[in-house]
Subunit: 205 residues, 2 copies
C-alpha cells in the first residue's frame, strides 16, 4: 500500500481492472498476463511487472485468479477510500461527468454540481442537484469536500480557481484548457485533452 | 521533427504552449524556464530539457523568445497538420468536445457528430451538424476521416467500435470507460479518466 506506484502504472492498472470486470461478467475464473496484454496491445512482461507491484499478486500456473487480482488492484489504488468532490460548472462537460456512474466504483463520489446560471440551479443530473455557486463555501464544510472538478468555460477558469482556493479547496481536477495559477498548498491535475490527443496522433503520418 | 518525443514531454509541451499564449496576450516578449516551471510546479531543469528536444530552441540571456518558442512547439508537435475527426455519440460529452474551440488550434478539426437518436439528428452544435450514424460510411470517404472520437454510452462502446472498424476507421480516441477490442491495424487511445483521477488522488491521505 505504501509502495510508490508510478503514474503510468496506475493508469494501466485501472485498464486491467476494466478487463477483469468483463471477465467476471463472462464467468471466467482465470486470466493470463498474455490475455491482458493482447487486449491493450502491450507487452505481457509489462503486465507481469505491473502486477508484481500490487500487494497481493498470487499467480497460479493457469494465470491470475480474476477476482483476487481485481480486489488486489482496488486495495492498492485505494478504490474503497471515498473521495468526495463537487463539479464546478454545469455545462455539457460537467453534466457528462456527473452522469459517469463508473466513478463511484473507483471511490469518486460526486456530491453536487455548482453553477451561476439561474436556469440551471435547482435542476438535477443523475440524482445530483445543481446548486448556486454562492452557496459553495458552506457546502464545502458541510460535506467535507476538498476536491473540485473544474468544468467552467476557459475564460472563467482562473477567477473561479481563485474563488475555490479562497474558500478552502485543496485539489482541482482541471478540465479547462488553461494552466491555473494556484498557491503551493493546492494541487492541480491538468486533464490536458489536447496533450493527450497529440500523444495519440503524434506518430500519424 | 523526426526525433521521437516521449508522451509525457508532449503532454508538458502543450501546457507550456498554453502558458505562452497567455504571455503573448499580456505582451511579454521573453519567458524563462523558471517562469514556466513555477506555473506548473515542476523543476525548471525539466522545462529546459523538454525545450531542448524542440527543433528550434534558441535561448537568450533574458529567456526564450515567447513567439519563437510557441511556433517551435507547434512545428515539432505538428499543430499545422490538420487531423479530421468525427465525434461518435452526441451526448453531453460529445457535445462538450464539439464545443471545445481550442482543438482547432492544435490541428484537430471535428467535422460532424453522429448519433442514432432521431431527436438529435439534424441539430447543430458549434456549427457542426449531428448526422445519422447510418450515413457514416459514405461521409468517412467524402471527408477523408479516419479518426473517431468515441463518446457513446459504455454499454454500446464495443458494438459501435466493431462498426467503426468495419467501415474503415483507423484511430479511436476512446472516452468510454471500456477497453475496446480492435484488430491490430486500429489504434486506440484510452482517455482513461478514472486512471487519471487515481493518479491525481493516489497520494491523498
Amino acid at each position: 500500500m505504501n509502495k510508490q506506484i508510478p503514474d503510468k502504472v496506475i493508469n494501466r492498472l485501472t485498464l486491467y481492472h476494466c478487463i477483469l470486470q468483463e471477465f467476471i461478467k463472462s464467468d471466467c475464473d482465470y486470466i493470463s498476463s498474455k490475455q491482458i496484454a493482447n487486449r491493450l496491445k502491450i507487452d505481457d512482461s509489462q503486465v507481469r511487472k505491473d502486477i508484481n507491484l500490487l500487494s497481493n499478486s498470487g499467480k497460479s500456473r493457469v494465470g491470475y485468479l480474476v477476482k483476487e487480482l481485481k480486489v488486489s488492484i482496488e486495495k492498492t489504488l485505494g478504490f474503497s477510500k471515498s473521495k468526495r468532490a463537487f463539479i464546478i460548472g454545469a455545462g455539457n462537460l460537467g453534466m457528462a461527468l456527473a452522469k459517469y456512474d463508473n466513478f463511484t466504483n473507483y471511490g469518486l463520489n460526486i456530491i453536487n454540481l455548482f453553477d451561476n446560471d439561474p436556469d440551471k440551479i435547482g435542476k438535477e443530473i443523475n440524482n445530483k442537484k445543481i446548486l448556486d455557486i454562492k452557496d459553495l463555501p458552506i457546502l464545502i464544510w458541510q460535506h467535507y469536500v476538498d476536491i473540485a472538478i473544474l468544468t467552467v468555460p476557459a475564460q472563467h477558469a482562473q477567477e473561479t480557481t481563485d474563488y475555490l482556493v479562497k474558500i478552502g479547496i485543496k485539489y482541482i481536477w482541471n478540465f479547462t484548457p488553461t494552466v491555473l495559477n494556484v498557491p503551493d498548498d493546492v494541487l492541480v491535475w491538468n486533464e490536458n485533452l489536447m496533450g493527450n490527443f497529440l500523444q495519440f496522433t503524434y506518430g500519424i503520418k
